[in-house]
Symmetry: C2
């Protein structure tokens, strides 16, 4: 853990090291992934089944690739009712927030008589990748699937590997709850290939979202352009701005909730109060003795954790803006006063009783957020990721007379003769008063 | 040119060939581009000047990289007043449309007493790449820069190469008109590197947009993640749905306006009227005899052009949806009746007096649009590309009591103990009625 004070002479150089990327070990997978994509593209379901047998040790036929409604129901029956209730509460809140963010179409007629606007139109089909085994987070199924459904996407296909045939029932329950329409027991680059190019069993989708291992991430990179993809997530991070009004242990737990994800995760406390900083640091050490995930959380805190002493809260927020965190907690008396100062953060959590973990599950806003300081230019997952805009422009003879000559002048200046003629031929016809264009 | 009729038995297989990508010759530039990026990253302005001398045959010092206000003014003085007026008309209309599309922030308090919402925040800085020489289109400067300015981006840096010191005055005039704040005489992968990583002279930006050659496109791919980029544009295309109410020559010119861009451009006419299809085809041939860009337009029409005979306009729009064109013209009596049926198109032009060329320059909607059938999932350039969303969530003790337990249950189910503790420690404190959290 690094501890820095903005009044230290070497603060800037030490802070710069916090801004530099935490590199993930790059696996060299471009070639094997390209081979898998090619295999699925050529041989479709046959390839899918062969690759599933090879990688997941699961013998499967094309007819068995999709989970049946009965299998999904059986999985749901295995989940404790209280947990199903929690899933449903989460789903309802996520749906409400994403419904509230739905954009409006635009249409107006301007002073030259042209009617213009834009329409938001949902994608026809989206594909959701869900990792198998321990990395399967039911909450992520909700967070990826619900925005697509709210956006109006009709077909929502999900691929999840079932190594040795094992599936997490809560993942199927979450998919059911989120309105996923098709679920396939296939994973890895082969799943991405199937969703991008289609097979007899799995029809192609228009955009693929969801987290995955290095093979999945590389496969998404390679199919990008043919279909849309989401961004490739880096290690997670949180910045907690806090004063001494919170229990140091509670703030320590907030920092550790990030640290327990991954050794590369980064948790940063920013406070003007050095005594509180000491207390939180001690509390982190104390909790690290008892946490079940102490090996991961401890490595993350040791290697990537930071405590920054700021002069005041304005400076604290400015440091946070420079870190452009995925998550920002404002654990202070008047968090609303700081919110307008936040320019770069994926999601902000305001107030002592609103920690990030509430937002991770049941807050409503999406937990798929921009990592690695990309909050400078990127946004969390939203209904916008499952829609696209079509603009339109409409005008009659009068509008063409008023703005057409400028188009002709610019087309001529760019040396695009047919562009100019396409407009001037119409203007000529109007000048001749020809009934047809 | 391919002519297909939907009533032909082999229509589907012939149509499928229209859907397959027109591959651009892939230059192998990944390695030289990586070297250039590395060079600029290590040596900054020194590298920029050396590479500009090598590639653009222009000796330049760091102090001379930026155009001065006087140089921009001198360039503007070279442009004919009528052309400046046309630029300003275009800029005003583009600005008005992009201002109309600005999104609203969201904020509401829900039934459990949580306040949640999202804020749209402009990027701090955007970078605009503009090709040099013949590929420099002033209209593209407007289309890329104005949405950034309207979005609220404070710094708008533009890089344009000046091979042998030659600059297109209209490009500088357009940059001035669009509100670009910095212009640098540097191009290629080195310009992208400078905007992504920064040098002493060119500060880094958060997102880089604008068209470029294979080196520029590859450089954008390689810096992606460190900064945002726009999509890599493929060859352009148009679908024209027309009836016999238009002059066949006018429709032919619309098809050729697309074809004159590039041999790989694709122009497609869809009509239910076979006689009109014949007339347009003849008009295309006639115009190809006299167009200045007949070599390019002729190759495009011959290799990639298509005429599709549909049963009716509903089928015509359905074919257009499958082609997911960049541009769609509805040259029919009642284009508004067809617009709601359009699901996949970058931009739609309605009515006989509203050809694409009007929209390319002075319509208002953006002319940077999704190519290569990506309108299935992608959108044209807009203010949204220069903003990002920050969500927020705020709640007090009562809200935590109502939804906190569900978060604890889900965190436990996912095996994330610190997540659960971060919430349950607060709930425990509330249960104990402790004044601090």
């Amino acid at each position: 853990m690094k501890r820095l004070d903005t009044r230290d002479a070497d603060f800037e150089s030490a802070f710069a090291s916090l801004l530099s990327g935490r590199e993930q070990g790059q696996q060299e997978v471009a070639r094997p992934v390209a081979d898998i994509l090619d295999h699925v593209r050529r041989e479709g379901d046959t390839a899918l089944c062969a690759l599933t047998e090879r990688f997941d040790r699961l013998a499967v036929t094309p007819e068995k690739l999709a989970f049946t409604a009965e299998e999904v129901e059986a999985a749901r029956a295995q989940v404790a009712p209280a947990l199903l209730d929690a899933l449903e509460l989460a789903a309802a809140r996520i749906e409400a927030f994403h419904r509230a963010q739905m954009p409006q179409d635009l249409r107006y007629t301007d002073d030259v008589g042209m009617t213009l606007g834009l329409r938001w139109i949902p994608l026809d089909a989206a594909g959701l990748y869900v990792p198998g085994g321990k990395a399967a987070y039911p909450s992520s199924v909700l967070m990826n699937a619900i925005p697509a459904r709210v956006a109006g996407v009709k077909r929502l296909a999900m691929c999840v590997p079932t190594p040795d045939g094992v599936i997490n029932p809560l993942v199927l329950a979450a998919a059911h709850c989120a309105g996923v329409t098709e679920i396939y027991r296939v994973g890895g680059a082969q799943a991405v290939a199937a969703m991008a190019y289609g097979t007899d069993t799995i029809r192609p989708v228009d955009r693929i979202v969801g987290p995955g291992n290095a093979y999945v991430a590389e496969a998404k990179r390679q199919v990008f352009g043919h279909v849309g993809i989401d961004s490739i997530a880096g290690p997670s991070d949180v910045v907690v701005i806090a004063d001494s009004g919170s229990d140091p242990r509670v703030i320590a737990l907030d920092l550790l909730a990030q640290a327990e994800h991954d050794e590369l995760a980064q948790s940063t406390l920013i406070t003007p109060d050095t005594a509180f900083a000491d207390a939180v640091t001690q509390a982190v050490e104390a909790e690290l003795n008892v946490l079940t995930r102490k090996a991961i959380a401890g490595a993350s805190w040791r290697d990537n954790g930071a405590v920054l002493i700021a002069r005041d809260f304005n400076e604290a927020v400015e440091l946070a803006n420079r870190l452009a965190p995925e998550h920002l907690e404002l654990m202070v008396d008047d968090p609303e006063a700081l919110l307008p100062l936040v320019r770069h953060a994926g999601a902000v959590f305001l107030g002592r009783f609103c920690p990030e973990a509430v937002g991770d599950y049941v807050g409503g806003p999406n937990h798929v957020l921009p990592t690695s300081r990309t909050a400078r230019f990127a946004s969390g997952l939203a209904v916008f990721d499952f829609m696209k805009r079509t603009t339109f422009l409409s005008g009659g003879p009068d509008a063409l007379r008023r703005i057409g000559p400028a188009a002709v002048a610019l087309a001529d200046a760019e040396g695009l003769e047919a562009h100019a003629l396409s407009v001037s031929a119409r203007l000529d016809a109007l000048a001749r008063n020809t009934p047809n264009t």
